[in-house]
Symmetry: C2
């Protein structure tokens, strides 16, 4: 196996044991970037020289016996909404022409302190306001969407051009591209990972989190990211914790909530089958299945958009007046729509959120996690704008991809997506696990148990072929 | 001294020592209600029979050696926004005709469990949306405003028709009437006292708190009120505490911030003189004075109104459509104005609040409390709509009364008003003490030290004359 194919945990073990040097690992990943990136378009910027210098330094530190922990010498990519001192934060937008960050974001600083090596910045749907990331191609089929908005990060991790990456998630933007590219994505509890220095889409829904090849890897990254930062007004003061899950795969005593409503409505049958088969595996590991009714489902879409659109409009107010022509049309229209919203509309969404949080808290007293699809259908072709369901209902692709992710943004509960198979066209399918606020340990334990016990030779796959034709 | 003239602490000591029975105390206060209430209009409802029965029961409990603590057998009044099971919550509004609460509010339940005896419900400016409480007359001069919106509660405490009362405070509604009637009012830290079962004006600014004759009394009531309740989404999980201040009056080491800006602008000279003289007393007790500059002062008014108006409009949306004619005109106009506000206006106010909170936290690292006037002028005559300052500036009475109170609502910091003298017309003046979030103990210690050491025979006065002519 090539070093660029290793999971973070595997690479970390090899580096700590000095079986692998950070220089070899970074060289391998940069070689993969050279080979695959022209076909993928995952990166806005690759900082190869800077990464090689950092790798040499990391190697030197290890040789001196100074090992910083599991991220030491691991090459990673940051969604290009995340500030790194001295680099532009483009947000994949012409609006940011000439931008240069003067300080590290909280998460970039924490990853740097943990020894991770920045390879580059990855594409986002412009300012994170979309679900496809049109600049980037799906790692499994270049004719299909990468998903978004953290499309570049998910494709980089899936294709071996980064060992892990960070994304942001306002309505599914970590989980959607992770699911569509067959990797793991974690949207942590609202407020657990500080957002200082990260471009905002909608501050009451925005989250930063890891995209990785395995659940264990997500836990290792979360351990470095979590913790209070007073510069983010929503940052929680939860104590630091080690999120790495233990090796036990026995789930006896765990109550898995299986939604009777909402999460299996208008879902592709192959997605439903793969998710139910994964849930059966959790049951085989000892979990008890409990049917649950998702509360207030008819308010989810209005609440998500009712919060997101005005907050995004408020954030972009200045540049929308001065340089509207620099936005892509889809994003500009959404931002302009915010000017038509009344304070009353926004407050109705805020009040619905408060009620939904309380109802979800009540539901999560009865079960430990909820298991559901991450998205209702795998990656669509890049030219598809809508999806039509068997009952004749038509839905925009964006609405469909947001639909099953939004509840975790509105309520702030943590949500993890784990790959659980492929559809007939070979496109990946994601299982979503949702849990109680700050109960990431349970989500990660369940996801890790699943990955350790699922049939097949390994816990993760790097998509080695590039530009394979669509079947 | 008549029992109705006792402070809560004095009455509690006498009840515990069996020198006074709850029945005698309640009878004395009800006698005072009969005498004074026709001239004051403080009460919406007096539940005399119910109070007498509760007093007999409280007396029986004490006789059996079951003493619940300092509120046991103490007669009190609740602002008529606060639900009591089986009674209407009128909000002093025709909109609430036929209303009946089916459960106790969190604070009514806590006071009941502590042994306090409900005398009745007091007038509020309709739905708390105003600063005068037109139904109620000032306890010191019937030709002047009671202040609002908790006007009935403050007048009841000042005139001896309740030993203590609760009010609510969204832009000064506890502190303004307390200051105008010469009593103590405490707006606690946002989230410290749960609001479940209390009619909302503006949920991100609303607070419930005590109105009492002394600072010590306010501490005794706060001890019974504070603590988490999951039914209020903003309720903090601060641990229970005994807020009663110790007897020490030495303030050595205390840093008192004296505002160089904002709090002494457009303030009546007699108010300024009384406040500065009270501050000199704190200095004489050992406090160190530190000049502070209040941050972001030009955003205060827009932020207060920008949050309050849309939230109030959202709360009243239904009845404003169905029964607009049942509102008083002043309140209806403010509620209708909310329909003209955009989501962007509201979000600007929310963002300004976030910045103000951070700036205030920074300022409150340098000082322990801030000392300032509570309101810029004493109670105006009931027919005055505006006030004109020496530089020719004209301001509405409402704007003037909100102006110095709003920062504590916006930032959520605790604020205590303490009577510090009278103007030439004999009308009371209030000193406002503001502190760090959850640092009520320091505010109460400073206010209590002031009241124990100020010149004069007693710590509080009940206004015994009623319907005295204006001088």
């Amino acid at each position: 196996m090539q070093p660029h194919e290793l999971s973070l945990a595997e690479a970390a073990d090899a580096i700590r044991a000095r079986r692998l040097s950070p220089v070899e690992l970074v060289d391998s990943v940069l070689g993969r970037v050279e080979e695959a990136e022209p076909h993928l378009g995952a990166y806005v910027t690759v900082a190869a020289e800077q990464a090689r210098r950092a790798a040499a330094e990391a190697e030197h530190e290890v040789a001196q016996g100074c090992y910083r922990g599991p991220l030491h010498g691991i090459p990673m990519a940051l969604k290009d909404l995340i500030d790194v001192s001295g680099m532009p934060t483009t947000a994949s937008s012409r609006v940011r022409a000439g931008h240069r960050a003067t300080a590290d974001s909280a998460v970039a600083a924490r990853l740097g302190a943990a020894g991770a090596i920045l390879l580059g910045k990855t594409h986002t749907h412009e300012f994170a306001f979309g679900l496809t990331t049109p600049q980037t191609r799906n790692a499994w089929d270049p004719g299909r969407v990468a998903g978004g908005s953290s499309g570049g990060s998910a494709v980089a991790v899936a294709s071996g051009t980064a060992t892990f990456a960070l994304g942001t998630d306002t309505g599914g933007s970590i989980r959607v591209p992770a699911a569509l590219n067959g990797v793991v994505g974690l949207k942590p509890t609202y407020g657990l990972v500080p957002r200082h220095g990260v471009t905002s889409l909608s501050w009451s829904l925005d989250h930063v989190g890891p995209i990785t090849r395995t659940v264990e890897d997500a836990a290792l990254v979360l351990t470095a990211l979590a913790g209070h930062d007073p510069r983010d007004p929503a940052s929680l003061s939860a104590p630091a914790a080690d999120y790495r899950p233990g090796p036990a795969t026995d789930l006896t005593g765990l109550r898995v909530g299986l939604p009777r409503t909402y999460y299996f409505d208008h879902v592709h049958p192959q997605v439903e089958a793969a998710v139910r088969s994964a849930v059966a595996q959790l049951e085989a590991l000892g979990a008890q299945l409990v049917e649950v009714d998702i509360p207030m489902t008819r308010y989810i879409q209005a609440t998500q958009w009712g919060l997101m659109v005005p907050e995004a409009g408020s954030y972009h107010e200045g540049s929308l007046r001065t340089v509207p022509e620099r936005y892509q049309e889809d994003v500009r229209i959404l931002l302009e729509a915010s000017e038509l919203m009344s304070a009353g509309d926004y407050l109705r969404a805020q009040r619905a959120r408060t009620l939904m949080r309380a109802e979800w808290a009540r539901m999560l007293e009865r079960v430990d996690v909820i298991a559901a699809p991450t998205v209702p259908m795998p990656a669509v072709r890049a030219d598809e704008q809508t999806v039509t369901w068997p009952d004749g209902t038509t839905e925009s692709v964006s609405d469909a991809y947001v639909r099953l992710c939004a509840p975790a943004n509105i309520t702030g509960v943590p949500a993890l997506t784990v790959p659980v198979g492929h559809d007939a066209a070979g496109m990946p399918i994601g299982l979503q696990l949702l849990g109680r606020p700050l109960d990431e340990p349970t989500l990660l334990r369940v996801g890790h148990a699943y990955q350790q016990t699922r049939p097949g030779p390994r816990g993760h796959t790097v998509r080695s072929r590039v530009s394979s034709p669509s079947p």
